[in-house]
């Protein structure tokens, strides 16, 4: 009998564990009760309340959507910043498009991966245009009379009516 290093084979013999395919029919109300009593943490973004299925996807979401440092580093563009959606994959990418292509070609992801961060951004960009608040600059106060006292000067005072003392002083001056 010689010394032998045995190589593995596909469909090894003898087949030791005959596997039988099985389905499931559960009363999920019971399962849900059990889930609720175990106090599972849910992966929800505190800032935008988006719910994600795994800790890794939530990390990516927070980093890419709400992290100022990430935004700055991305704009500087000196290194790839976007991590793969698969936690175990070490690859990083410069753009979301690169990452998407990688996920489709290397990991066989669907084109419309639902936990895609960029997709949501795009959706927001496609939305109806909304007027943004326009900063009104201070307009010089004027009056139609020749009075020396022109008017109340509101410069530098955010909301004059909110300060009771200011109103009192102003009334005293008029009297």
């Amino acid at each position: 009998m010689p010394v032998v290093y045995r190589k593995p084979t596909e469909r090894p013999s003898p087949e030791l564990l005959p596997f039988k395919k099985q389905g499931v029919l559960a009363d999920l109300e019971v399962a849900q009760e059990v889930e609720n009593t175990t106090l599972n943490p849910r992966y929800r973004c505190h800032q935008c309340h988006r719910l994600l299925p795994t800790a890794h996807l939530l990390d990516l979401h927070i980093e890419e959507q709400h992290d100022v440092y990430f935004e700055a580093a991305k704009e500087r563009g000196d290194k790839p910043m976007y991590s793969c959606y698969i936690e175990e994959c070490p690859d990083k990418f410069r753009t979301v498009v690169e990452r998407k292509d990688h996920c489709i070609s290397a990991h066989k992801f669907p084109n419309n991966y639902r936990f895609d961060q960029e997709k949501r951004k795009q959706k927001e960009a496609d939305g109806m245009e909304v007027d943004v608040d326009v900063q009104v600059t201070n307009v010089k106060a004027f009056t139609f009379s020749n009075s020396k006292q022109r008017t109340f000067n509101t410069r530098g005072v955010k909301d004059p009516l909110s300060n009771v003392q200011t109103i009192k002083d102003a009334l005293d001056e008029i009297e």
Partner: protein
């Protein structure tokens, strides 16, 4: 019952739920499993187990599939009915899979924000995966990435359904299995397989079954990175952990032993000689012992330098020879042959104490 395209009434459904609940309660009581467990059925088995069940025909399935497609949404009731229909027979599965856009609706529910519907969609896909290879291929293409992603979820019921679905797919279709491997399934499964046990997140057995199926059917398609990951993390599984019976088979099929890493041979030796029960009652016992011996024969054939303590090694070999199993004895003799060739060990002393039974 005459087949109709209309879904059966709410009354019937309540009765079915009640019946399933009673049956589950009884089974939990019998098996002393915890409340998190679900009923598992093979294709068509449900008809024999619960004879009061109504029959859902191909027309019913087509009607329901058309409806969810139109609405682009499946309710809890819809998915429960689909789960039930798929369990009844392959013709229902094929009818659903042939309806364009129907699986996409279930996938939409699987990835939606509603936790309950997510679990129901996962169960629905699990039962759909009872179908033939072409159905499993469709599931992999449309939902494979999500099934793999949800393995990291905190919802234990969802993780378990995903593992069951993946096991069905891995068994049915090699092409799908290879696609799933590209989604880093092996490392994810290994993490679950070696995770510490607790009451809720106990996936070791289900993950072990999936790894077993990969090792048995598509081991050659496992990437070198995945094999290296397993070799580096071999120490995370101990002989006394749940589902440890699959361990040596996975190690053997993935050819982990010929990777030169710090300490992994020593761990395999410790795993092999660990104090445990040696018997051949269950099929998994045989799997564990046979491939344990084979892995050890391979390590010895490589003539690596490891510390073999005589006493536990002899004791293990004697216990294994004592089982008097023909197939196992053949493997043990090969192991002894490889052992004799080892230059670093004084084997005469050991061979004298080994008892081989005829």
């Amino acid at each position: 019952m005459e087949p109709t395209s209309q879904p059966p009434t709410k009354m019937d459904d309540t009765f079915l739920r009640h019946k399933i609940r009673e049956y589950a309660k009884q089974q939990r009581h019998n098996l002393r499993t915890n409340a998190n467990d679900a009923l598992r059925f093979g294709l068509g088995q449900i008809k024999q187990e619960i004879c009061e069940l109504e029959n859902l025909s191909v027309k019913d399935v087509q009607g329901m599939a058309g409806r969810i497609k139109r609405r682009k949404h499946a309710t809890t009731e819809d998915m429960y009915r689909f789960s039930h229909a798929f369990l009844q027979g392959n013709e229902n599965i094929n009818a659903f899979a042939a309806t364009p856009g129907a699986i996409q609706v279930i996938v939409k529910e699987l990835t939606g924000p509603n936790e309950m519907r997510r679990m129901e969609a996962a169960d629905c896909l699990c039962n759909l995966s009872l179908g033939e290879a072409h159905v499993c291929e469709k599931i992999t293409t449309l939902a494979g990435s999500y099934l793999v992603t949800f393995l990291h979820s905190q919802e234990s019921r969802l993780v378990r359904s995903c593992l069951w679905t993946l096991a069905n797919i891995l068994f049915s279709c090699n092409k799908s299995a290879k696609n799933l491997l590209q989604m880093q399934l092996v490392t994810k499964l290994w993490k679950l397989y070696t995770a510490p046990t607790d009451d809720v997140h106990a996936y070791q057995v289900d993950a072990g079954v999936c790894l077993y199926l990969i090792a048995a059917q598509v081991a050659s398609a496992v990437s070198s990175e995945d094999r290296l990951y397993i070799a580096e993390h071999l120490q995370e599984k101990q002989a006394t952990d749940p589902a440890a019976d699959y361990y040596m088979f996975i190690v053997y099929q993935f050819e982990v032993v010929n990777m030169e890493l710090e300490g992994h041979w020593q761990h395999l030796y410790n795993f092999f000689v660990a104090e445990r029960k040696f018997d051949l009652v269950k099929p998994t016992d045989r799997l564990s012992l046979l491939y344990g011996v084979r892995v050890w024969a391979n390590i010895l054939a490589m003539n690596v330098k490891i510390k073999i303590e005589h006493q536990p090694f002899i004791s293990t070999l004697n216990k294994l020879f004592g089982l008097r199993d023909e197939g196992l004895n053949k493997e043990l003799l090969q192991l002894l042959r490889n052992f004799i060739e080892l230059s670093s060990v004084n084997c005469v002393q050991i061979l004298e104490r080994i008892q081989v039974f005829a």
